[in-house]
Amino acid sequence: MIPMLQRTSVVNNIKTDTLSFSSILEIGDSTFIQGFSRAIAVQREAEAFFGNEADFKSYSAFQIPIPFSPISANISMHTQQLSPIIKVQNIDIIGVSASSILQIGSSNHISMEARVEHIRQLLPDYTDKK
């Protein structure tokens, strides 16, 4: 561990109503976090759910690579902890969803990725006949 990461996080009170779809509430430190979520969001004008439909492979949003530019700049960083504590009195969150992370504590490397394909299906407009 690098000495700069020696700050302690103090949270007196956390209230979270919902944690869903592989989300994590982590109390404590970590070294590596990698999150990934994919979603096909379908909105239909009327209730209709067909179950096992659609495939991630059919949409380019889930295929295209995301180029990460390497961090190449040569920076020498020096950190002095004049007060090695991060204090938060109260955290109130309604929802944490889709591979999201809520962490009380420090980490080293974090990498998160989300891909969403949004589709809307509307009923034909029968009033518009000419």
Binding site: I66, N74, S76, Q80, I110, S111, E117, H118, Q121
Partner: protein
């Protein structure tokens, strides 16, 4: 490049959030690197007007 950081008192009263979603991150702490990537696609073909049919994979 020389980058000098002095961390003095950090004290937050209250954090109120509606939602943390789609591989987002809320952290009370330190980290060395963060990389975030997101793709959101709503192409013209994604607005389908007509009788409801299941999404057909190509």
């Amino acid at each position: 490049m020389n980058f000098h950081v002095y961390n003095r008192d950090l004290c937050v009263g209250s954090i109120r959030i509606i939602g943390v979603a789609s591989s987002s991150l809320l952290m009370v702490g330190d980290t060395q690197t963060i990389q975030l990537a997101s793709v959101f696609d709503t192409p013209p073909e994604s607005l389908i007007i007509g009788p409801f049919v299941p999404l057909t994979p190509k």
